[in-house]
């Protein structure tokens, strides 16, 4: 077994929750960074010690240390996070025990987290805080919000107040998702008069 020491990600102490920047009490437990291309052994992750306080743990840690963590979870001190290649369904029965559920975006171009969030919200009944963690950037927040995320741990090197603006890029959307369960065509009568004037369009 290789040596794995505890590594706590620094969320700079603030997250976006709803539409505000708030102080954050939670720590995210992650395996330490390994050299490029080297993946942490599953049993090493599972054995990560869970520090005191409010901690969002990997699925493997929860599964391996479930008995020991149940009491802390009952106190509202344990959350869980899903990697982008993990499915949330196996934890369906346990979801109610968590104070927060998070989904990791290893890279902002990895879109699996959007489907994980959709499934958590629409099929697994998760109504609590759903937090995006990892490579979380301003230009993806609008979509994240649409598929059900309501908390955003913006990447530590980015201005969280600037990122907040990403939540209001659009005021209307065509399709249904978690935030708006009814598509545009069912919400509005769309056979209204068309304004084809050029004014204001830069011609």
């Amino acid at each position: 077994m290789s040596e794995v020491s505890t590594h706590i990600a620094n969320n700079a102490g603030q997250i976006i929750k709803g539409r505000s920047v708030v102080e954050d009490q939670w720590q995210v437990l992650r395996a330490p960074e390994l050299p490029e291309g080297v993946k942490a052994e599953a049993e090493d992750i599972a054995a990560l010690p869970v520090p005191a306080g409010k901690v969002i743990v990997p699925v493997a840690v929860w599964n391996a240390q479930r008995e020991a963590l149940l009491a802390r979870a009952a106190n509202g001190d344990i959350g869980v996070w899903f990697a982008s290649d993990e499915r949330p369904e196996p934890l369906k029965e346990d979801l109610a025990k968590f104070a927060v559920v998070a989904v990791d975006f290893p890279k902002f171009t990895d879109g699996r987290g959007y489907s994980i969030a959709f499934n958590l919200r629409t099929r697994l009944g998760w109504n609590g805080e759903l937090r995006a963690i990892g490579d979380v950037l301003r230009d993806q927040l609008f979509s994240m919000q649409r598929v059900g995320f309501d908390a955003f741990a913006v990447r530590a090197d980015r201005d969280i107040h600037d990122a907040l603006k990403g939540l209001s890029d659009f005021s209307e959307t065509y399709q249904a998702s978690v935030d708006q369960k009814v598509p545009l065509f069912r919400r509005h009568t769309r056979n209204v008069g068309v304004n084809t004037g050029d004014a204001g369009f830069g011609i």
Binding site: G111, Y114, D139, M144, R146, T173, Q175, A176, S177
Partner: protein, 563 residues
């Protein structure tokens, strides 16, 4: 055609504001290039060899004359006076400045156009039959369904960071003119025995490094379920498509890996609780969109023999034979304007030609034009009695080459002259071949043939489905061309087979010449090249092409010293 309402305008306007700010942040270095890249790609902006290229969406290839005029305006104001129509019925400008792209988008918005999702790992512009709505063999006009898909897929929050790009094509006629079998999703609008409208649903087709024809995953999907079923397909792909290797990331690889039955099972399981949900299309919504695609106010005319008064005019007869297509309305015809004049890169049009085509559309074709995936332009609704007058005008502007479907009507990507992905140039190859076989009589004798040229394995020039396919490859830093034959698009889609070691650029015209000699020798009466090649296999072609050295100045042998 479809007209934006207040919501379409609002979404496009807000998009421009979002993108304008993204460009500002990039220029201010608040966004790294790596972070900006997927954002600009999803707005059609590529960094090419010399400059940025902006690809603008032409939904299902349909254009209003004012939109074509806007392209001419953009070509003059922001580019070098021309644009390039693409195999996905879009247009791209090769010489734009990053700083000006938000302004270009504002100008486009004034004519209900945008560049949303014309690139990047998302759902791209849905392509369709360029003769939709007018084709004599049409069963159902596919465009309203393409428009519904356009709106649904625009900024779909869950499917903006897919494993790879995702292309949908839709056909509603007996003959497939949308190449649906080589798309990630290929739809055919059909009627079931009860006369209800639905889709034959194919998935998993694609070209690129591993060309695969799509598989039917549902024989009949009632139209109401188009969006929910597509959502199910997309969610399976988003979760399970490979992300470790971009050459294995398309949905075709997933289908191949797990098999069409297992894939279908997963889609059907995913669909169970989506079916009949809020995204189920309503009669009202579908009718609202269909109403935009009603037939034009055609005159009550009879079909006429428009060739008879010009019986001695062979040039006109050639043009009619190749560039005029049957129309479902008596007294009308569809006309293809050829962007394949020898000496001009396939698909290129100058600003002057664009303005001219827009004027023709207003004068002869209810103000509408279509872009074909073979990179030509269609005037879909021309009165038969006006064909001769139209031909004379079109000829004067170099758009009447009577070569539609023939050898010089090549599909060709921008290649190494522009594209930073390309291994080899493609336009000069196309030019050399066009020059060698410029004789229209020879081309008419050879008949229908698709010669498709791609400058790299990404296959933007659709080489896999060309009767003759040419692929540029890089070998130790020099450019070589691999040749395949027997590919086809349409109802009998097939992937071509490689004939052997590749050739140098200068050898290519002679290679094509030799392939055609074998064809002329072996063809059955009326048998087109692709069918002949499929019947005979590559052996006789290979034998003849490689039998004697192809001498070219300065180099006597090709790759692998095949002589």
């Amino acid at each position: 055609m479809y007209q934006y309402d207040q919501y379409d305008h609002l979404i496009v306007r807000e998009r421009i504001a979002q993108y304008r700010d993204q460009v500002r942040r990039r220029l201010a270095d608040e966004l790294t290039e790596a972070e900006f890249l997927p954002l600009r790609l999803q707005n059609g902006l590529y960094m090419q060899r010399h400059a940025y290229m902006l690809r603008i969406a032409v939904p299902y290839g349909l254009l209003a004359s004012k939109q074509m005029r806007m392209f001419a305006h953009i070509a003059r104001k922001y580019d070098r006076g021309y644009g390039h129509f693409t195999t996905r019925q879009n247009i791209q400008f090769n010489w734009v400045e990053l700083e000006q792209t938000p302004d270009i988008l504002s100008e486009l918005a004034s004519v209900e156009m945008h560049a949303i999702q014309t690139s990047g790992n998302c759902i791209r512009n849905t392509t369709s039959d360029p003769f939709a709505g007018v084709a004599a063999d049409e069963i159902i006009d596919p465009r309203p369904y393409a428009e519904v898909l356009r709106q649904w897929s625009t900024f779909h929050p869950e499917f903006i960071a897919l494993p790879r790009k995702f292309k949908v094509a839709i056909n509603g006629a007996e003959e497939d003119r949308a190449a649906i079998a080589v798309h990630d999703i290929g739809l055919t609008v059909v009627r079931n025995q009860a006369g209800e409208i639905g889709f034959k649903f194919m998935a998993g087709g694609g070209m690129g490094r591993t060309p695969i024809l799509g598989s039917v995953i549902r024989e009949f999907l009632p139209w109401q379920h188009l969006l929910t079923y597509t959502e199910a397909v997309m969610r399976v792909y988003n979760q399970y498509g490979r992300r470790d290797n971009k050459y294995k990331a398309r949905i075709k690889i997933l289908l191949k890996a797990i098999g069409v039955e297992e894939f279908t099972r997963q889609v059907e399981a995913e669909w169970v609780d989506l079916k009949d949900g809020p995204e189920t299309l309503t009669q009202e919504e579908m009718q609202r969109v269909i109403d935009y695609f009603q037939p034009h106010a055609y005159k009550a005319l009879e079909n006429i023999d428009y060739l008879a008064p010009h019986a001695d005019n062979k040039a006109f007869a050639n043009w009619v034979k190749r560039n005029v297509k049957a129309h479902k309305q008596a007294g009308y015809a569809a006309v293809v304007l050829s962007l394949k004049k020898t000496g001009v890169p396939p698909g290129d049009a100058t600003a002057e030609q664009m303005d001219f085509m827009a004027d023709l559309a207003d004068k002869y074709s209810f103000g509408e034009l279509r872009v074909t995936h073979e990179q030509n332009i269609v005037l879909a609704d021309v009165e038969q009695s006006l064909l001769y007058t139209l031909w004379e005008q079109v000829k004067a502007k170099g758009l009447a080459t009577p070569n539609i479907g023939l050898l010089t009507d090549m599909i060709c990507c921008p290649g190494g002259d522009f594209c930073s992905l390309a291994n080899a140039k493609s336009i000069p190859i196309a030019a050399a071949i066009a020059e060698r076989f410029d004789s229209i009589d020879f081309q008419h004798d050879i008949g229908e043939i698709e010669l498709n040229i791609s400058g790299c394995i990404n296959a933007c020039g659709h080489h896999h489905v060309g009767g003759i396919g040419v692929l540029g490859v890089d070998k130790d830093g020099s450019e070589w061309y691999q040749v395949s034959i027997g590919g086809a698009q349409g109802n009998n889609a097939a992937i071509g087979k490689i004939i052997g070691p590749s050739f140098s650029a200068l050898q290519m015209p002679e290679v094509i010449g030799r392939l055609l000699q074998v064809y002329v020798r072996e063809r059955a009466d009326g048998e087109p090249f692709a069918e002949c090649a499929q019947r005979l296999g590559i052996a006789p072609f290979k034998e003849f092409v490689y039998a004697t050295p192809i001498v070219e100045p300065g180099r006597l042998v090709g790759e692998d010293e095949y002589v």
